[in-house]
């Protein structure tokens, strides 16, 4: 098979940008670890509401509900979204162990039936409970609901209605099927916290309409940095912001030069 490099495949612009992002990430992270780069991430009300919701659940002796998204798997383009939601699950589980709140974690609905996520979710719960000094108290927490999306949504709605949780957290890559659990959360009087960042923001407005607190678009990816407050992770968020400024500048300059009859920026970005 002949070797075909990126410039002959029409992937020049994306290749250069990926390489630059790799190098920039390595450089800024090393600077942050040495203490030479510091950044600040603004407070997210949804993040603060998680602990508040778990505290409320403990006081009311009602469970805390969490569900995997019906779209993300570890084998598709939404894998980063799934990893972020796992970070959230880990944090929520640790808080549930700390406060002694009952937890319900539902899995299912994704391409492949959500089956690929179940062992990871079980492992996260096991580790959180073992670390919190409560090994063996995880029975009945993780529930597999259904492999089909609509059945999963209906199953989540049924579970919330029956179990009457005080806090419902749907911080995961969801499609339309985030609506039934979010609606059920409102009906049982639970605090609902939603979060997602599907490409194109196709579902993000639903989180705003249905949930009491939400983290959408790139707010969703700051979750890990807010949880750890590690300089390296925070630097990663700053790199994202710098990249967006560069893209805004490229767009503005590209438009300007195009009007002046010099389409070199457009040509570079159109190289695939």
């Amino acid at each position: 098979m002949a070797i075909v490099p990126f410039w002959l495949q029409g992937r020049t612009a994306s290749s250069i940008m990926t390489i630059l992002l790799f190098l920039f990430t390595v450089y800024l992270t090393s600077q942050a670890r040495k203490g030479k780069f510091k950044t600040h991430i603004r407070e997210l009300p949804a993040y603060d509401a998680i602990e508040e919701g778990i505290g409320r659940a403990t006081e009311m002796n009602r469970p805390v509900f969490w569900a995997t998204g019906d779209k993300g798997t570890l084998f598709n383009e939404l894998a980063p979204h799934v990893l972020t939601s796992f970070a959230g699950l880990r944090y929520i589980s640790e808080l549930c162990v700390k406060y002694g709140a009952k937890q319900i974690v539902c899995v299912g609905g994704t391409k492949g039936g959500g089956a690929d996520l179940l062992p990871y979710v079980q492992a996260i719960i096991d580790e959180a409970y073992t670390a919190g000094g409560k090994p063996g108290e995880t029975e009945g927490i993780v529930r597999y609901i259904a492999s089909e999306g609509s059945a999963y949504g209906a199953g989540l709605q049924g579970t919330i209605t029956r179990e009457n949780p005080a806090a419902v957290m749907i911080i995961a890559p969801f499609g339309d099927n985030m609506i039934p659990p979010a609606e059920a959360a409102g009906r049982v009087g639970a605090i609902s916290i939603g979060g997602g960042a599907r490409y194109g923001g196709s579902m993000d407005h639903h989180y705003v309409a249905f949930c009491d607190y939400w983290m959408i678009c790139d707010e969703y990816f700051t979750f890990g940095a807010l949880l750890t407050h590690e300089p390296a992770t925070e630097a990663g968020i700053a790199i994202g912001d710098y990249t967006k400024w560069v893209l805004i500048a490229l767009t503005a300059l590209g438009f300007l030069f195009l009007q002046l009859g010099m389409p070199f920026i457009k040509n570079f970005l159109s190289m695939g």
Binding site: T25, L118, S150, G153, C217
Partner: protein, 215 residues
């Protein structure tokens, strides 16, 4: 003990890095022997892992429902029996005739499909109810959202808008084609950049909160 923890931390990160770099390499430089031969193998491994996980999921589901039946949970246990019967029936059909069998097709067409369509139909009503709940102009930003929302409702969704004023249609189309498209593009770029960077940080082992192993 320290070696075990070190292995549990390092080994998954190493596997992630190697697999990720191979797939990226294959995307940008096709035909390289190291990546072009290993990427199909990695894809097969993903399918094998899923093949192991799926029976585990079904088993979890069956065990949960057997517990409900054993406890005779009020209002639920008979539904659990019905679900186990359906699982057994679908499995039997799947193993004997495959997914093209008559009974399998009929079960799906006449039992599963109507139920799933009902759930999908309910989503629209829920979305409508939620939209009315957030229809309050508490802040100037919310007011702009509501004005834009009204324009779309009157210009595109509700036919009465065109009767009140014919300009509603073109105005709503302008908002839909330019203003909302710009907003969606901003979301698209923001989300994509953040997801790419999270992928890079995961490959480089900087993002490990989800797999933290206690000392």
């Amino acid at each position: 003990m320290a070696t075990r923890i070190h292995l549990r931390r390092t080994l998954p990160l190493l596997i992630t890095l190697i697999a990720g770099v191979l797939i990226i390499l294959d995307f940008f430089v096709s035909g390289l022997p190291v990546s072009s031969q290993s990427v199909p193998i990695l894809s097969k491994w993903a399918t094998i892992i899923w093949g192991f996980a799926m029976p585990y999921s079904v088993l979890t589901l069956v065990i949960d429902h057997l517990k409900i039946i054993k406890k005779q949970t009020p209002g639920r246990w008979y539904y659990s029996i019905w679900m186990l019967v359906l699982i057994a029936l679908m499995l039997y059909q799947g193993f004997t005739e495959g997914t093209g069998g008559d009974l399998y097709t009929e079960l799906f067409t006449y039992m599963a499909a109507p139920v799933l369509s009902t759930v999908s139909g309910m989503l629209g009503l829920y979305a409508l109810a939620a939209s009315f709940r957030v229809w309050h102009a508490r802040t100037p930003e919310a007011l702009t959202m509501i004005i834009a929302g009204y324009l779309v409702v009157l210009g595109i969704i509700a036919p009465i808008g065109e009767i009140i004023w014919p300009g509603f249609g073109p105005l709503a189309n302008f908002f839909n084609d330019y203003v909302f498209k710009a907003e969606r593009t901003v979301f698209y770029i923001g989300t994509s950049v953040s997801a790419i960077l999270l992928g890079i940080r995961t490959l480089l082992g900087y993002e490990t909160y989800y797999m933290r192993v206690e000392d």
